[in-house]
Amino acid sequence: MTGKIFHIQRFSIHDGPGIRTTVFLKGCPLSCFWCHNPEGISVSSELLYNPDKCIGCGACLQCCPNGVHLMETDQHILQRQNCTACGKCVQECFSGALEIAGLTLSVEEVMQEVLRDQAFYSRGGGVTLSGGEPLMQAAFSRAILQSCKEHAIHTAVETCGDVPWRQIETILPYTDLILMDLKLLDSDRHRAAVGRPNERILQNARLLAQQELPIEFRTPVIPTVNDGEELLALAGFVTELKQMRTRAGIAAELRWEWLAFHRLAGDKYKSLGRAYRAAALPLMPLSQLQELRKRVEREYFL
């Protein structure tokens, strides 16, 4: 079985406990304009071009069968609509200016990479599937997770939650921790910000909360999107889930983390030839974020 991966990051320390390897799967149902992995949104492979690294050698012009690369008055221009992401030009580009985001790998190939750091997982680390949305490739994700469990590796899945419940269900037996995004409680505003309503996400969150499984909800706090009262609304929702869990006698931990917004993804957008709308957003000082967090914790006993 194969799947589409755009990155495998070793010594990953921000996506779950301990030292981990994070496998980034391609494709996501949402399209958050602040996404810092924009190369993970589309299901298809894409060509990345970093003009800062290009030495203008012209090798890509000569080898591309579709005439994607053009040199116009010393300007390297890409006609991306013609690109099939075949990767031929990448092979000829030695400067590192060209790259393909989205390689087709087998479960075995992914596992080979994952197992390189197996020794480091034993002290509370493991493997995290992320993306994109790993459950857009549910069968592939499941196969990787299953293989990890066969090697006694701790597993975590980072999901946006906007997938059919039956797909989530298939991975649960092989998952030790769910990391799930919660962005907004108001569905209309959710749709406006990320392109899809949130009913399915909230429903999945409720169903997940009823599983005997540790869950970490994560909210990227995005200025102008959810940096105020929206968080209080989410706090209400998380509290409701916690109470539900207690009533059901579920002991596994349920946490809610906030992630500070940063504007570091600009280069990636540039490489994809896309506009980075989030660049215009103001940055929220950490102190303000902490202040907010304190207020929410006070009001909701979180």
Binding site: Q9, R10, F11, I13, H14, P17, G18, I19, I55, C57, A59, F94, S95, G96, Q112, E113, R116, D117, A119, F120, S122, R123, G124, G125
Partner: protein, 748 residues
């Protein structure tokens, strides 16, 4: 111990922390003066305090680690040569000259410190030439030149004394011991050595004694009662230590300080080794008698560490494998933590070692961002040592005592860190030879066979050089300082380099592993498999140092091959193969005179220097650019620079005979801010050692700060980094050394 009178109790008394702060400021001031007078200092931050301005005489010389440096001499002293060349050779001449230096060497007493003494000059800087021209070695020169060997001829110190000898005997006892054995070993070699040793001890006693007098003089003039009392104590301690062994913790530290700074003055020698064990009985006794509090112990240790950055091992197994971590191990860490100056402290990490000490070490790394402490894989170094045919008990006594190295205190002569084979230089010779032979089909595989042939020659030639060194060193520049505290030199009347000690395990390190591994991988992929370029064309491009129309593109083509360290790449396989080959060749046989050699992989920071000797290499490296550092991959080996990938490859290429191939790693403080950051790094360190690693040099550095400090070092006079095995002020380093650190941190 001094009891404060009732009146004194009501005065404002300086706290220990205030006094430590003062020591710190004095250290910064001394460092600033050195920056101004000497310029960059690409070596350990020794506690040298410059002579007074009117006594300074600047000269150009070569450092103890073989680096060209500016140095400052003491105007009042000049050498009395015993040779037409102007040099000073042999134990008698060296000993009498060193004695004269000690006898007019200025005193140094900081009333804030509990200990006296600082050294002002390097004796070696007066010795010119360092090697006796009568003892030339034209028979060895061609091979040295051909392979750009770092042959170790004339190398000094780099083995470890046994401090317990001195702590038991004192200088008086050592002098008696010399006198006693002088009557037993009456041959010329022994008598000459005794003359040298005796002169050294007499000089030392003179210098210490003058500190006693000076402290008394200062005390008489001191108005602050607390400092006056301190000076009175310093006077008493040092008048006593001229002959007697130390009795208290403070005296013990003072004794060790004399020994170490005199070693630094003589030839940069001396290690602290297991100082937490050696001083533990003194500490316990004082505590038992209520003469010492832990706060006071920390203060004495800080007074020590501010004057001496010698290497030490904290914790670790005794000969039976039982961990020896004690309260003092923690107090040493604490003192260094409060000082925040360069310090070379290694924390032992092994199956049975103290988890608490490791944790504390990592916490301090995180808190101070000063590259301190470093971490020692004690199980692997001691078990590896048994593969030379020694029992494990002996392996466990072989302790960390220098930059990247271990030695058995007082019983082993090692030449650690002094003898290197520049793998990249040998590769260059092999490549030229290979391409000039028209009968061989050019391929990476065939080149490897040729490389093996040359590497074997290089190893054998180096072995002959070491034999030559061992034949002559005693009569050139004997180890008069280390000999005093070794088991054997006095008893046998033989210098440690000439049969004075029990074990001879000569260190032979490889440098430039990644440069060569990446070169083989690039040749194999781009030339053999993809046939993008002919071998002839590549050779021309290398000779042209990648210049010319296609040059840069070809360079990038060779450079963009998956690298050594990435994990699972052909370059990784080449690296493993080359490390194994080197190990096998070193272990193939002993030196012609029968001395055991132990392989390691370490370039020190000399990878910059060694690079100057090597033309462009097929891994896309420019001529004269630095070769790779230790067993580490080159910066940029992976896009994410994954520390786990780094730890994996360095663990796999370990030669495994007890000498090290240290992992050099720089981490972002971002890791630290995680709630479980300390635990995470503790796990990382342990895992590297479980995989086979031997030593970790860790820096936790803020990228932005390092970049800013590189632009304007004066803005960050207190920024400390672990350059390689040693730590130093970032601002003290030359632009080249700073670049190396910056490149590692940026991973570009």
């Amino acid at each position: 111990m001094h009891q404060l009178s009732e009146v004194e109790c009501h005065r404002t008394v300086l706290t220990f922390d205030e006094r430590i702060a003062s020591l710190y400021q004095t250290k910064l001031k001394h460092t600033q003066e050195k920056w101004e007078a000497i310029g960059s200092m690409d070596f350990d931050d020794h506690g040298l305090v410059l002579p007074e301005p009117e006594s300074r005489l600047p000269i150009q010389t070569i450092s103890g680690s073989g680096v060209p440096i500016t140095d400052i001499l003491l105007k009042e002293y000049s050498i009395q040569s015993n040779h037409p060349s102007g040099g000073v050779f042999g134990p008698r001449a060296v000993g009498s000259n060193f004695r004269r230096l000690l006898e007019l060497h200025p005193t140094y007493i900081d009333p804030m410190s509990s200990l006296a003494g600082a050294y002002r000059v390097n004796f070696m800087s007066y010795r010119n030439p360092a090697w006796n021209p009568d003892c030339a070695y034209p028979h060895l020169e061609p091979q040295i030149k051909k392979y750009k060997l770092i042959p170790g001829i004339g190398a000094v110190q780099h083995f470890c004394q046994d401090l317990s000898i001195g702590l038991t005997l004192g200088w008086g006892g050592i002098l008696d011991k010399i006198h006693r054995f002088r009557t037993i070993n009456v041959d010329d070699e022994a008598q000459a050595l005794y003359d040298g040793l005796e002169a050294t001890v007499l000089g030392i006693q003179n210098w210490i004694g003058r500190h006693g007098d000076e402290a008394a003089r200062m005390a008489a003039q001191e108005e602050n009662p607390q400092l006056r009392q301190n000076l009175i104590e310093i006077a008493a301690i040092n008048r006593k230590l001229v002959t007697d062994p130390p009795a208290t913790f403070r005296e013990g530290l003072q004794w060790v300080l004399w020994y170490q700074i005199i070693g630094k003055m003589y030839n940069m020698g001396g290690s602290l080794g297991r100082i937490d064990q050696l001083l533990y009985p003194f500490y316990q006794r004082d505590k038992f008698k209520n003469m010492l509090t832990d706060e006071e112990a920390v203060f004495h240790l800080a007074s020590y560490l501010v004057m001496d950055t010698s290497y030490m091992q904290l914790g670790g197994p005794d000969e039976n494998g039982v961990d020896q971590t004690n309260e003092l191990s923690f107090l040493v860490l604490e003192a260094a933590h409060r000082l925040k100056i360069p310090a070379n402290i290694g924390v032992s990490v092994g199956k049975n070692s103290s988890e608490e000490l490791l944790r504390r070490g990592v916490e301090i790394q995180f808190a101070d961002h000063a590259g301190m402490p470093k971490f020692l894989g004690v199980d692997n170094t001691s078990e590896g040592f048994t593969r030379n045919g020694y029992p494990i008990e002996l392996g466990r006594q072989r302790i960390y005592s220098g930059c990247h190295w271990c030695a058995i205190p007082g019983r082993e002569y090692t030449m650690n860190d002094c003898v290197k084979i520049n793998l990249a230089a040998v590769f260059e010779t092999a490549l030229n030879d290979f391409l000039s032979d028209e009968n061989v089909e050019p391929s990476a595989e065939n080149l490897f066979a040729c490389y093996e042939k040359h590497l074997r020659c290089a190893v054998q030639a180096t072995a002959e050089c070491m034999d030559f060194h061992l034949d002559h060193m005693y009569n050139d520049f004997p180890e008069l300082h280390l000999d005093l505290l070794c088991h054997g030199p006095i008893e046998r009347g033989r210098d440690a380099s000439h049969g004075g000690v029990e074990f001879y395990n000569l260190c032979l390190d490889a440098a430039g592993l990644a440069t060569v591994a990446d070169s083989f991988a690039a040749l194999e992929q781009r030339l053999d498999r993809e046939k993008r370029l002919s071998w002839k064309k590549l050779k021309e491009t290398l000779d042209a140092n990648w210049s010319g129309g296609e040059g840069e593109r070809v360079r990038l083509m060779m450079r963009s091959v998956p690298r050594y360290g990435h994990g699972g790449t052909p370059a990784d396989d080449w690296g493993i193969r080359i490390a194994q080959l080197f190990t096998d060749l070193v272990k193939e046989k002993p030196t012609p005179h029968g001395f055991n050699m132990i392989p390691g992989i370490f370039s020190w920071a000399a990878n910059i220097l060694y690079g100057l000797d090597v033309g462009a290499t097929p891994n896309g490296r420019f001529a004269k650019a630095p070769i790779s550092h230790g067993p580490n991959p080159d910066p940029g080996f992976r896009k994410d620079g994954a520390p786990t990938a780094l730890a994996n490859i360095v663990a796999v290429v370990q030669p495994g005979y007890g000498n090290t191939a240290p992992l050099q790693i720089e981490l972002d403080p971002g890791t630290v801010r995680l709630e479980n950051g300390v635990q995470l790094i503790v796990g990382y360190i342990r895992t590297h050692f479980e995989l086979g690693g031997t030593q970790i040099n860790l820096n936790i550095v803020d990228k932005q700060k390092i970049l800013a400090a590189d632009k304007d070092p004066n803005r960050y006079p207190d920024l400390v980094v672990r350059v390689t095995g040693f730590s130093a002020y970032f601002g003290s380093l030359s632009p080249e050394f700073r670049r190396m650190v910056v490149d590692r941190i940026l991973q570009e």
